[in-house]
Amino acid sequence: MATRLPEAASVTFSHPDPMVPHLYRVLRTRWDTGDTFSLELTPEQSADIPQFEAGQFNMVYIYGVGEIPISISGDPARRDTLIHTTRAVGTVTRVMSKLKVDDLLGVRGPFGSAWPVETGRGKDMIIVAGGIGLAPLRPAMYRILAHREDYGRVVLLYGARTPADVLYRKELEQWRSQFDLDVFVTVDRATGNWRGSVGLVTQLIGRAPFDPMNAMAMVCGPEVMMRFTTMELKKRGISGDHIYVSLERNMKCAIGLCGHCQVGSLFVCKDGPVFRHSRVEPLLTKWEI
């Protein structure tokens, strides 16, 4: 009998009306790189934030400006604050980047599927992130590290544009200093004082230490980076059934009603954003969608 493959972990709504934003107050702001910032938020109307799973996203609403989807980048075990990391590139995120402590904004969520961290127990975990793609994967790292003994090797491969664009630098250094983690960071180009690797994140895969026959990979970054990363992972011997990717589309309602984020027969907001690669692979190279 055929075994049913695990999809990305599905999660149910935690709020009664998922279209109503809840008030959050800015606790802290931090610039992570020249164009990327993190907001630490606390709920106004309750003590705890809704329980979320690694890989899920919220719709963040700047009143009078607009609403955008942003992955949650904090620790799922922490219920007191919500952390979002994003780039200041559009109308909403530029205004968001100027928010100050005690400013208010609206949050709906959490929405979407999660990284199948639980399914990976007993396996080598390969986490591949490109650019700001590290933000949605950070909660998965926290989850894995909280139960480190349940996993085989844990390998984080991270690629950024330049050394100045490396996200969560202190945390990466801390993870790299741990004896039970393999952390490799590479940049596309560097000046003389950078001591790490230079080249594409895909080039780290060939020399990463893991057993492809007993490994699960979670990949997040620009879609072209994910395409080539999955190719390299498969070359190493990991099946597409054990590779998970997080897709990004124009999400509006976040509950699979409006159709803005539709890819083929899937709604990225509801069926994703985390998908088993073998499920979405045929869709990723279709120009028409």
Binding site: I132, R161, R189, W194, V198, L200, R207
Partner: protein
């Protein structure tokens, strides 16, 4: 004690190479160790060798006035570097500097070219291996050119 031929045979670039060819190649090889920060080769100089990395990291870069040396790739253990010796004008296009202590095997270009010319089977095998590396590097360069992490509003 390890022989030079056994060291050559252990490098992934030569995986599966027939014994007579390994012996031919080893005849052109020598061991080189350089310290961190030292140059393995310099842009514009005559390219008379290629290298397989045994241990350590090599930075490939180019000098940009006002910005210093811009590193666009690092070459690691198990990889190879250098094909300027194969085509005119036989000069290094970039600079190779040791990022860490570097142990490499250096292969003499003239010696290899003569052996490739004399034995077309050997030459074909050798060029196939180099072509694969070239293709991988070109593909990686194309992806770097896309600048996929660039901020787009």
């Amino acid at each position: 004690m390890k022989t030079l031929e056994s060291i050559v045979a252990q490098h992934p670039f030569f995986n599966g190479l027939a014994q007579p060819y390994l012996t031919l190649i080893t005849g052109c090889a020598s061991n080189v160790v350089i310290k961190p920060g030292e140059l393995l080769f310099r842009e514009g100089e005559e390219a008379t060798q290629f290298f397989t990395i045994r241990t350590g990291i090599l930075k490939l870069g180019v000098l940009v006035p006002g910005q210093g040396e811009i590193v666009f790739q690092t070459i690691h253990e198990g990889e190879i570097v250098g094909w300027s010796w194969m085509f005119p004008p036989y000069r290094w296009h970039f600079t190779g500097r040791a990022a860490t202590e570097l142990r490499v095997l250096a292969f003499d270009a003239r010696c290899l070219l003569q052996k490739c010319e004399a034995d077309s089977g050997f030459g074909y095998e050798f060029m196939k291996r180099f072509s694969r590396i070239m293709m991988e590097r070109i593909q990686a360069t194309r992806l770097q050119l896309i600048d996929m992490y660039q901020t787009r509003g």
